[in-house]
């Protein structure tokens, strides 16, 4: 077992390996300000009750006070490209028709007929008007009531507001968000400082190259937390330690809704001090799944270069070629590191010039012991060419492995390793006699941050 508890790095108790900020000192071009942010206020070390993940009561509190109040990502704008296209967004027991009503205009309607309450639309698709399949009550795509058959029987509806009730709607990065709370803060305030941090990565211009979904037998927070710390790399993904700076990752929190982890890549784990630069280069190309090539064949480490620099330059050259644009302004960090942001409560997005990975964890309907895990990969395409259509969602059966989804490449086997923990964590928490978890002070600080923000909503 490695012992990396010596005090080093920025601040108090940090791993003895080189810090991410020190790695940035080695960049040869100007480092953008967002990467220099290093903010992790102390949030305490108290144990956290497992009730938050396993109890029905906690789920009911989230249902009543969290989901009705937060901004939540529903789909991509590109998923509903034409006026009248819509996506059905479901959260716990609520259903929303997210509709494109204009070139750059979207609306979110409560998916429930004002006549007898049937859901108006059963699935994603296109409609010139919303006709209830039960009796035919009809609304236009802006939610204005158009009528119902046998109007003579409904004169009592004349004085009623028959417009479809709406939720708040907003967009950022090509994603469409909704909020049930009419008094919510504007989306741009909620997301601050995310838009600024992503200013070099116009996600709204990218296309969804892959979208894979599967039910996982754990609470949605257990799923989300599996991607909020790199501490688990040592035991869960040990084969990637040769090129992953796991223990020397940086963890940041920005206000209530945004947090970030930065895991340096192209350097060996502090747990693997004996690894050579040649091994780092070979393994990152073959195993990471995010580099410009997935084979180390024909690659030899030039004398005097680090693997981190060699792989970043390889990525720079090949990524530029793919998109037909110069990436001379990109830092090595943005070309290879794992820089992952959390948008409270359940969406996570990577920055960087590789495909930008997105995770979302939704409660599986009203079941607090399972969740829906989705991953998307946002891709760039050659400048001047037609934007490719977004990938159709690939819904895996619960018994399928993520590695059965070829479109996510090397991520599949990594997710399978994470998957081996997620359901097991839920099961173990239920069996726990301790009844609580003890988080690492720093490396698991984003998980504490998630729960402290949840508490702010539940206690509001």
């Amino acid at each position: 077992m490695s012992d990396l508890n010596k005090v080093k790095q920025q601040g108090d108790k940090r791993c003895e390996g080189i810090s991410y900020q020190n790695l940035l000192d080695d960049e040869t071009i100007e480092v953008p300000a967002y990467l220099r942010e290093d903010t992790n206020p102390y949030m305490g070390n108290d144990d956290i009750s497992v009730d938050r993940w396993i109890s029905r009561d906690f789920h009911e509190q989230e249902k009543e006070k969290l989901w009705p109040k937060v901004w939540q990502m529903t789909c991509r704008e590109e998923d509903i490209p034409e006026v009248g296209d819509h996506h059905i967004y479901e959260i716990v027991d609520q259903s929303i028709i997210v509709t494109r009503t204009g070139e750059n205009e979207f609306k979110g309607f409560i998916n429930s007929c004002l006549h007898r309450g049937r859901i108006l639309r059963d699935c994603d698709g296109h409609a010139d008007e919303f006709v209830c399949p039960f009796h035919g009550a009809t609304w236009d795509i802006n939610g204005n009531f158009k009528g119902i058959p046998c109007k003579w029987d409904f004169s009592h509806l004349d004085e009623k507001d028959m417009s479809l009730p709406q939720v708040q709607i907003g967009t950022w990065g090509g994603f469409i968000f909704i909020n049930f709370d009419e008094n919510c803060v504007p989306l741009e305030d909620y997301l601050n400082p995310l838009p600024e941090h992503f200013s070099r990565f116009p996600l709204h211009d990218y296309y969804k190259g892959a979208h894979v979904q599967r039910v996982v037998q754990c609470n949605w927070k257990v799923g989300a937390e599996a991607f909020m710390e790199s501490f688990h790399t040592l035991e869960t993904h040990s084969e990637i330690l040769t090129f992953t700076g796991d223990a020397n990752s940086q963890y940041d929190t920005f206000g209530d809704h945004i947090s970030r982890s930065v895991t340096p890549m192209g350097i060996a784990s502090p747990h693997r001090p004996e690894v050579t630069e040649e091994e780092i280069m070979r393994d990152i190309l073959e195993l990471s799944g995010r580099m410009a090539t997935d084979s180390a064949e024909g690659h030899e480490m030039p004398e005097g270069l680090t693997a981190r620099t060699y792989v970043a330059e390889t990525n720079r050259e090949m990524f530029s070629e793919i998109i037909g644009e110069s990436l001379d302004h990109a830092t090595k960090s943005e070309l290879e590191d794992a820089i992952l942001y959390m948008l409270f409560p359940n969406t996570q997005v990577w920055t960087g010039y590789h495909g930008n990975i997105v995770y979302r964890f939704l409660p599986n309907g009203d079941d607090h012991n399972s969740c829906i895990f989705e991953t998307m990969i946002l891709m760039r395409y050659e400048k001047g060419t037609k934007r490719p259509d977004p990938a159709e969602k690939n819904i895996l059966r619960p018994d399928q492995a993520f590695s059965e989804a070829p479109e996510i490449g090397g991520l599949g086997p990594v997710f399978d390793q994470d998957d081996s923990n997620m359901a097991a964590v839920q099961k173990g928490m239920i069996a726990s006699r301790k009844g609580a978890v003890s988080l690492a002070s720093y490396q698991e600080s984003r998980i504490r941050h998630l729960h402290q923000t949840i508490d702010k909503y539940l206690n509001a």
Partner: protein, 105 residues
């Protein structure tokens, strides 16, 4: 018995995400093109028998214009709750003369 029917429609006449209704051997069939491939299905939604002509195609899914049921053109299988009955599908090929041919049974 399988019979091959010439639709008399040149393959190049159908563009991506377009539908064309044809009557062959008394059957109302919808020919669709999605992602560059041709598909043929019964032109009648299994929910309420509405014609599917003009239904929106996204990727390989055709949406019924009436209530929006989506069918996977590759298998005919529907999504959602409105129907669980698949559309009948027919193999389509591009013949030497450039016309689309269907296999009917």
């Amino acid at each position: 018995m399988t019979t091959t029917a010439d639709t008399l429609i040149p393959a190049t006449d159908i563009t991506d995400n377009q539908t064309v209704a044809v009557t062959l051997e008394g059957k109302n069939i919808l020919i669709c093109k999605a992602n560059g491939d041709y598909y043929a299905v019964d032109n009648q939604c299994t929910h309420q028998r509405a014609e599917l002509t003009g239904g929106r195609i996204r990727n390989c899914f055709l949406a019924c214009p009436l209530h929006g049921v989506r069918f996977d053109l590759r298998t005919g299988k529907p999504l959602g709750e409105l129907t669980r009955v698949a559309l009948k599908t027919y193999p389509v090929s591009v013949a030497d003369d450039g016309n689309l041919h269907l296999e009917l049974d």
